[in-house]
Subunit: 415 residues, 2 copies
Amino acid sequence: VNAEIIAIGSELLTPFRSDTNSLYLTDRLNTLGIEVEFKTVVGDVREHLVNAARIAFGRADVILFMGGLGPTEDDLTRECVAEALGIALRRDSGLVGELYKWFAARRYKMPESNLKQADVLIGAVPLPNANGTAPGQWLETEWAGRKLVIMLLPGPPREVKPIFDEQCMPRLKALGAGEQIATRVLKVAMMGESACDEIASKVYKKYRDIQTTILAGAGEIQLHLRGRGKTLEAAKAKVDKLADELEDALEPHLFSTAGESLEQIVGYYLDMRGQTIATAESCTGGLVAERLTSVAGSSRYFLGGAIVYSNELKSQFADVPESLVKTHGAVSSEVAKAMAEGIRKRCGAQLGVGVTGIAGPGGGTDEKPVGLVFHALADGKRTEVVQRNFPGDRERVRWYASQQALDMVRRKLSS
Amino acid sequence: VNAEIIAIGSELLTPFRSDTNSLYLTDRLNTLGIEVEFKTVVGDVREHLVNAARIAFGRADVILFMGGLGPTEDDLTRECVAEALGIALRRDSGLVGELYKWFAARRYKMPESNLKQADVLIGAVPLPNANGTAPGQWLETEWAGRKLVIMLLPGPPREVKPIFDEQCMPRLKALGAGEQIATRVLKVAMMGESACDEIASKVYKKYRDIQTTILAGAGEIQLHLRGRGKTLEAAKAKVDKLADELEDALEPHLFSTAGESLEQIVGYYLDMRGQTIATAESCTGGLVAERLTSVAGSSRYFLGGAIVYSNELKSQFADVPESLVKTHGAVSSEVAKAMAEGIRKRCGAQLGVGVTGIAGPGGGTDEKPVGLVFHALADGKRTEVVQRNFPGDRERVRWYASQQALDMVRRKLSS
């Protein structure tokens, strides 16, 4: 069974907006064994939309139209799909009543034009929309001798997601004698893509019926696993077996087996071990603290930190001896170590993190080039320091450095 | 003149990846008066790709194929476009030589399969690729009595952008007797969408031939202006006139008239006025400092800051009197004020910023609900405090609060 997703709206053909709903819908469809084989974006133009619909009816089994269900003249999806199918629309009196109720509850007068939102393709089931005035529609029909499933869905993410999950997924499940698909996401920190693939491929190549996709970002690699089975349990069992083997093979780089972010994992470990943490940052400018505190409940383990751009503040907030900066320079292993140890004591935390480096684009020298960063982690007994030379621009160097610092905390707490 | 962009690659039909190149290409095409009217995503499947190409030839004048130019079996764009057009491919001996050179320079042996990257549509001009082995192609041809411009472009952003800018744009310009399009982006901070539109619409409605698009985000609204003219200068003059009027009307909320970010603008002002700044953050957890320091050269004006989650650290790093926290609570106007004043003095900066609030999801009470944030800005003479109740989740509240804090700095420095 294959699907086509058609996103409708002239704003999706500008340089400013792109369709993102389709990623979510693809994920949900895949769990039912339905593959998305085409995606189309078309503007609010009657002729274009009718033709795009006809093309989709000719090449896909399940067609999802998204957007163009509003009350304005530009909202053409209902009438264009009807025209493409060669069927009529009927005005649904139940939906008309719902529309009046929706406006009455908000003490607005309903504009006449909104009535077209009650128009339904003959044979279609309306899909109530709890978050807006545009109901969706579900139609099972035949076209040129083939069975089609057609869905009309609203465009805004907060409207389309609940309608699809609560009303379309159960109907698709009921239809489908198809296979079930299970997925898992594993994440690996601070490892090169080829080094990761060299280890991982030895494992996943043995599992020919599971699709493994590797996505590499700055300091993080994601492995997406997808397997099919007659039941969801059977599919899950296969995927979980591969995930377990990959987890063993990719230790200690692997940090997440269920899609969590690195800062979430660090938070779990800090909570679990009842430990607290503090940060002193130079080149990352607060990014390490910002990531740690982006996790709900982080006030349980994150006490505070300092951003110490100037050398004076390195002493004032993290007790870095001035002589150390003079002797070794602000970007040095010694200063990173002193920052981690100083902020740890100052904040009364069990762990202290220090990061100093050159994020660029300026400030680099032959000896200390842009991308050079020192990361330190102090626990009161010993202080570990890691030196790295990161590639890329300012944003990328800062991200890499925050990733390295968080990964050092994770490794310490997980061992 | 209308265009269709076809992104090719099965990975673009997964839940993990979406085509982003097309936004860039759309922006460039629009400057030449070429509108993108269709976008299609299709996998590495011969039949699908040939059909998608034929559909595009039937409905668009300019067709951009992106991706599928590599050396593997999955890379089918060259042969499928040839098949759809009913023309042949020729192996270009110049390109074969380039491929051998590319591999020799890297001391690799060239795999036989790479030779197919030297295959060119009969009549097409190869477009050298400085950043990869896959050259692009430019073809002007006739199809069903209509003139078509067809481009084959590589998929990776760092390959497609320079090829398109340096080799396709001049060719499109030379072809086009079309109108020119000028664009401008204005940005407004901490204003509601309807309040902004109420003011802006009075202005832009007078300019019927300029398209104004309003995009609202958390604490920031963007106004995108697009106008046409016979020359780029004529188009620019029209758009600039509207931009100037909008700038006057939207003062003092408007902060950028050329697309700069709020932290960039704050940086410009600090640099220009020769002022320095320091930050003390609670609920934003370092986000204000992180945004300030994301700008290259920020070490000239950003001295440092503290993240003071615990009450103890509020005293230790920002000299907030303990009694103040006891009397008014950590989330209060008084504590925000003391944080701004304390960090200013501690860091020896001209300006001090203090932010304290409840980001959620936990920690809210009836009296002090999630979303309540106090923002303070101290200059040594007086300290301004702004209280806000932001909607949304933890991430959104933190973003709003950082936006509010930065906007207070901007307003102070611009007045």
